[in-house]
C-alpha cells in the first residue's frame, strides 16, 4: 500500500501543472476578451490588395 504515497504525489503534481496552466492563462490575459480571438482567427490575412489596385 506504500505505492499510494507515490500515486498521490504524482496526482497532486499533475494537478499543480493544471493550476499553473490556469494561472498562466489568466495572467496572459486570455480571459480578458473571450469574444475577439474567436472571430479574429477567421479573418483573411491577405485582404484583397489586388482589387484595390484595379480600382485605382
Amino acid at each position: 500500500m506504500k505505492i499510494i504515497i507515490l500515486l498521490i504525489s504524482i496526482s497532486v503534481v499533475v494537478a499543480i501543472v493544471f493550476l499553473v496552466a490556469f494561472l498562466w492563462a489568466m495572467k496572459s490575459g486570455q480571459y480578458e476578451d473571450t469574444y475577439g480571438p474567436s472571430v479574429r482567427m477567421l479573418f483573411d490575412d491577405n485582404v484583397k490588395k489586388d482589387e484595390n489596385k484595379t480600382e485605382k
Binding site: M1, I8, M26, Y35, V39, R40, F43, K48, K56
Partner: protein, 808 residues
C-alpha cells in the same frame, strides 16, 4: 439616437448600406448603393479606396450613423500635452501606445476594421481590440502622426473614442488588476479545496492501525496545500481586518480572519503534534466559498457601476483667447481673467462676463427651464449654461472650482455620509457578533480550564471556528447582488448594492416635474406636407439661427439630413409669431398659423404646431408634442398609498391643474424652484426625520438628488447618466417604480431571513463547540453546507419575490 420619428416623405423604405438606418429622406446613390447621409457615403468611399470592403461582408450594415458629425475643432485639445499625457499608456519618444474606450464597438466587422487600421494610416504600427471591454490599443509612430490625427481618423470612420478627464478606459484598467488577483485567489483556493477534500476521505472513512504512515502523509500534504490558501487566498481578509482594527473599528473581516487563523493554527498543531487530521478541508472550503461570494459581488458591481464624476459634464478642453488666436486649455486650467470662446451648444464652464454683444443661454441644465435666456454685453453669465447660436467671448470672473455649478456640487451639505461612516447592516451585526463570539469562546475556555486544559483550548478554538460568520457574510452580498441584477434587468440601475438597503427605508418621495413626470425635451415631430430637398435645406439653414425650442427641435430633425448651411438673408424673429428669412431669393416663414397665412386647422391640444409658408403660400406644418409618462396617474396613486409625496418643479406653474389631477390633494406642490430650493426642501424633510427619495432628471436637480437618501434619475437613454444620482431608472420602466420600492423592502426581509438561518447554524455549531464536542467532520460539513444553503436560499427567495412582483 434620435427619438424623433418624422413621417417619411419617401414612399419606399430604403436602408443605408453603411449603417442600416432607414433613409428618412431621398437616399444618396453612389457606387450602386444607397446611403442615408454624406457621412456614411464618405466612410464607404474611404474604406473602398483602401480595399477594406470586407468590412461589409462580415456583418450586414455594420457601420455607424454619422449624421451628427463633430466639428473639426472638436479634438483640438489633444494637441495639448497636459491632456494627451493623461491618455497615453506608454511612449519611448518614437513609438506611442494609447488605449481608447470606444463604445461603438459592437460586431466582428468593427473588430476587423479597427485591427486593419494600419492600412488606413501607415504610421499606425499595430492596433488591437478588446471586444469585451470595447477597448482599442494602438501603437503608432508619434513623429509621423499626432494623437489628434488618430482620434480624428477613428471619429471619421464612426468609431469616436470616448474621452473624458477621468478617462473611463483608464479607470477600467485600474480595476482589472485586483479582479485578476481575485480570480487567481479563487483558482488557488478551489484547487486546494478539491485536493484537500479528496485527501481527507480516508480520514473520514477511518484508517486501520497499520496505516499510520498514510495518515501522517495525508496530514502533511494537507498542511502544504493549506499554506497557499491561508497566505495567498485569504490575504485580503487579513489585510482588511488589520486595517479596520487599526482604525478601532470592527468589520466582518475581523471574525473571519480570526476564524481562519484559529482554524489554521489549531489544524497545524493537531497534524504535527496531536496526530489528528485537523480542519484543513473546512479551511480551504471556507475560503473557496467566501471568495465565490466576493467574486459574485465584484461581478455585480462591475456591471452596474458608474462614476459620480461631474467633470464629464463639461467639455474637456475650452478655447482660450490669447493674442487674437484661440488655444485649447483643459477645464481645470481656467483662471480668473481668461477670455474663453464658447461655441454653439458648448457649456459655460465658469462664471464670466459676456464680451460679445449678445448671447442666448440655455440654463436647462441648471434651472430646468428650457427657454433660453437672452444676455447682452457686460452681463454676468453663470456656469452650467449652454450657449445657443453664434460663438461668444466670455471673460472669466471666478476660477472653475468656485463657479456656480461646482459650488452647487461642493456645497457642504452635498457630501453624502461617507461610505465608511455609513453603517452597513452587516458591519453593525459584525461588531456585536465578534464581541459575543469572543465572550463565548473565553467563557468556554474558563469553564473547561479546571477540568482539562486541552479541552479548554479545544473549545476556545472550536467556538471561533464554527462561529466564523461565513454564512452571515454571504447573506448580504448575495441577496443584494441578486436584487440589483433583477432590478437592472427590469430597468433600474443602481450605483451599488447599499442603495437597496437605503431604498427600503424611504418614506417620502419627492418628484421633479420636468423630464421626470413629463417628457420635457422629447416630443414627436411630425412633418406634414411634401417638400423638396432644397426647401428642406433652406428650412434647416433658417432654423439654425433661431434659438426658439421649436425651431431647435425642427433643426435637430433636419440635421440628420443636412450639414451644409445655405446663406440666409433678412433673418427676423418676431416674438409670439415666428421667424422669417430669405434663402435663394425665396421668402420663408415659419411660425404660427396666422403668420403663415393659414387658419388653425390642426387642433392645438396635441401640442405645438408650427406652420411653414414659402413666398406667401402655406406649404405645410410640423407638430411637436409633449407628453406625460404613461401610467403616471396609477403609479402616483399606488405610491401615495404608502409614501408621502411632494412635487417640485423648476418650471412655471402652467401644468398645475394637470398635476393636481395626478397627485392626491394633500401633496405639497412647489413651482419655480431653483436647484438650491429643491436641495433645501429635501434637507428640511430629512431634518424632520424623514428618509427622502428624490426623483429627477439629472443636473438641474443634481443637488437634491445628491442630498436625498436615494437620488434616482429618470433617463430616456440609460447611457446618459447623471453623476449625482444613486440610481438610474429607465424611462420605459417608470410604471414599475412602486414595484421596485416594494422589492427593496422584500430584499431587506430576505436578508433577515438569511441572517436567521445563519444564526441557527451558528447556534447549533456553537452548542457543540462549547461542550467541547466539535469534531473535524462536523465542522467540515457544517460550514460549507451553511454557506451553500445561504447562497441558495437568498438566490431562490430573491427570484421568487421578483417573480411574484412580476418584475421579470
Amino acid at each position: 439616437m434620435q427619438t424623433t420619428l418624422p413621417k417619411k416623405p419617401v414612399a419606399e423604405k430604403t436602408y443605408c448600406y453603411h449603417c442600416g438606418d432607414e433613409c428618412l429622406f431621398e437616399p444618396i446613390l453612389a457606387h450602386e448603393k444607397h446611403f442615408c447621409c454624406e457621412g456614411c457615403k464618405t466612410v464607404y468611399e474611404l474604406l473602398q479606396d483602401n480595399g477594406l470592403c470586407d468590412y461589409y461582408e462580415l456583418e450586414q450594415t455594420p457601420g455607424l450613423s454619422l449624421k451628427q458629425p463633430k466639428s473639426s475643432e472638436a479634438y483640438e485639445f489633444l494637441n495639448e500635452e497636459v491632456i494627451s499625457k493623461k491618455l497615453i499608456d506608454f511612449t519611448d519618444g518614437k513609438t506611442t501606445k494609447v488605449t481608447f474606450y470606444i463604445p461603438a464597438i459592437h460586431c466582428s466587422s468593427c473588430l476587423w476594421l479597427l485591427e486593419n487600421l494600419p492600412r488606413l494610416e501607415s504610421s499606425v504600427i499595430s492596433s488591437r481590440v478588446n471586444f469585451v471591454k470595447k477597448e482599442l490599443t494602438i501603437a503608432f509612430q508619434q513623429d509621423n502622426v499626432s494623437l489628434r490625427k488618430i482620434v480624428e481618423l477613428l471619429a471619421s470612420i464612426g468609431y469616436a473614442p470616448l474621452i473624458t478627464l477621468e478617462d473611463e478606459a483608464k479607470e477600467q484598467k485600474k480595476t482589472s488588476s485586483p479582479n485578476r488577483k481575485l480570480y487567481a485567489q479563487l483558482g488557488v483556493a478551489g484547487f486546494c479545496f478539491g485536493n484537500i477534500m479528496l485527501l481527507s476521505f480516508p480520514e473520514y472513512l477511518g484508517f486501520d492501525g497499520d496505516e499510520e504512515y498514510l495518515k501522517k502523509f495525508v496530514g502533511y500534504l494537507n498542511f502544504l496545500l493549506a499554506l497557499p490558501v491561508v497566505f495567498y487566498s485569504a490575504q485580503d481578509y487579513f489585510v482588511s481586518a488589520f486595517k479596520s482594527l487599526r482604525k478601532k473599528f470592527v468589520n466582518i473581516d475581523v471574525p473571519i480572519s480570526l476564524g481562519i487563523a484559529a482554524l489554521f493554527l489549531r489544524s497545524t498543531y493537531e497534524v504535527f503534534l496531536g496526530g489528528e487530521a485537523g480542519y484543513f478541508d473546512s479551511l480551504a472550503g471556507l475560503l473557496f466559498f467566501l471568495l465565490i461570494g466576493k467574486w459574485f459581488q465584484s461581478k455585480s458591481y462591475d456591471h452596474l457601476s458608474f462614476e459620480r464624476n461631474y467633470t464629464s459634464y463639461f467639455p474637456l478642453a475650452v478655447l482660450k483667447w490669447v493674442d487674437g488666436a484661440t488655444r485649447n486649455i483643459p477645464v481645470s486650467d481656467i483662471k480668473k481673467g481668461d477670455i474663453l470662446l464658447i461655441r454653439n451648444k458648448e457649456l459655460i464652464p465658469a462664471d464670466g462676463i459676456l464680451i460679445s454683444p449678445s448671447a442666448s443661454v440655455d440654463y436647462s441644465f441648471v434651472t430646468g427651464e428650457s427657454d433660453p435666456v437672452k444676455r447682452t454685453q457686460n452681463d454676468l453669465l453663470y456656469a452650467g449654461g449652454r450657449q445657443q447660436g453664434a460663438s461668444i467671448k466670455v471673460l472669466i470672473e471666478k476660477n472653475v472650482s468656485q463657479s456656480y455649478l461646482t459650488q452647487l456640487w461642493n456645497h457642504s451639505s452635498f457630501v453624502k455620509e461617507n461610505e465608511e461612516q455609513y453603517q452597513q447592516l452587516i458591519n453593525v451585526i459584525a461588531r456585536y457578533f465578534t464581541m459575543a463570539v469572543m465572550v463565548l469562546a473565553t467563557g468556554a475556555f474558563i469553564f473547561w480550564w479546571q477540568q482539562s486544559p486541552t479541552l479548554a483550548v479545544n473549545a476556545f478554538t472550536a467556538v471561533l471556528i464554527v462561529a466564523c460568520p461565513c454564512a452571515l457574510a454571504l447573506a448580504t452580498p448575495f441577496t443584494l447582488g441578486n436584487t440589483m441584477v433583477m432590478m437592472g434587468k427590469a430597468g433600474l440601475f443602481l450605483k451599488n448594492t447599499h442603495i437597496i438597503e437605503k431604498m427600503a427605508t424611504i418614506n417620502r418621495l419627492v418628484f421633479d416635474k420636468t423630464g421626470t413626470l413629463t417628457y420635457a425635451k422629447d416630443g414627436d415631430v411630425t412633418l406634414g406636407g411634401r417638400y423638396s430637398d432644397d426647401e428642406l435645406q433652406a428650412i434647416f439653414s433658417v432654423t439654425s439661427h433661431s434659438t426658439h425650442p421649436l425651431s431647435r427641435k425642427l433643426h435637430e430633425l433636419l440635421s440628420q439630413r443636412f450639414t451644409q448651411k445655405l446663406p440666409v438673408d433678412k433673418f427676423k424673429e418676431i416674438e409670439n409669431k415666428g421667424i422669417e428669412a430669405a434663402v435663394n431669393g425665396k421668402e420663408y416663414r415659419i411660425g404660427s398659423p396666422s403668420f403663415c397665412f393659414e387658419e388653425a386647422r390642426v387642433s392645438t391640444t396635441e401640442g405645438n404646431v408650427v406652420y411653414l409658408a414659402i413666398d406667401g403660400i402655406t406649404r405645410g406644418h410640423f407638430s411637436i408634442r409633449t407628453k406625460t409618462r404613461s401610467g403616471l396617474k396609477q403609479v402616483i396613486q399606488k405610491l401615495a398609498a404608502s409614501f408621502k409625496t411632494t412635487l417640485l418643479s423648476g418650471d412655471r406653474s402652467t401644468e398645475q391643474t394637470l398635476m393636481k389631477e395626478v397627485f392626491p390633494e394633500e401633496t405639497p406642490m412647489y413651482f419655480n424652484q431653483t436647484p438650491e430650493m429643491k436641495l433645501e426642501y429635501v434637507a428640511t424633510c430629512q431634518a424632520s426625520g424623514e428618509k427622502v427619495m428624490m426623483l429627477g432628471d439629472g443636473l438641474n436637480d443634481a443637488g437634491a438628488l445628491q442630498k436625498a437618501d436615494v437620488g434616482m434619475a429618470i433617463s430616456e437613454d440609460v447611457a446618459s447618466f447623471s453623476p449625482a444620482s444613486d440610481a438610474i431608472l429607465d424611462a420605459g420602466s417608470f410604471e414599475k417604480l412602486p414595484t421596485f420600492l416594494l422589492f427593496s423592502r422584500r430584499a431587506r426581509q430576505i436578508i433577515f431571513i438569511c441572517f436567521g438561518v445563519s444564526f441557527a447554524y451558528n447556534i447549533v455549531g456553537l452548542s457543540f463547540a462549547m461542550t467541547g464536542m466539535l469534531t473535524p467532520l462536523l465542522a467540515a460539513i457544517l460550514m460549507p453546507v451553511s454557506s451553500i444553503s445561504i447562497v441558495a436560499l437568498s438566490t431562490v427567495l430573491v427570484r421568487l419575490v421578483a417573480g411574484r412582483l412580476k418584475l421579470t
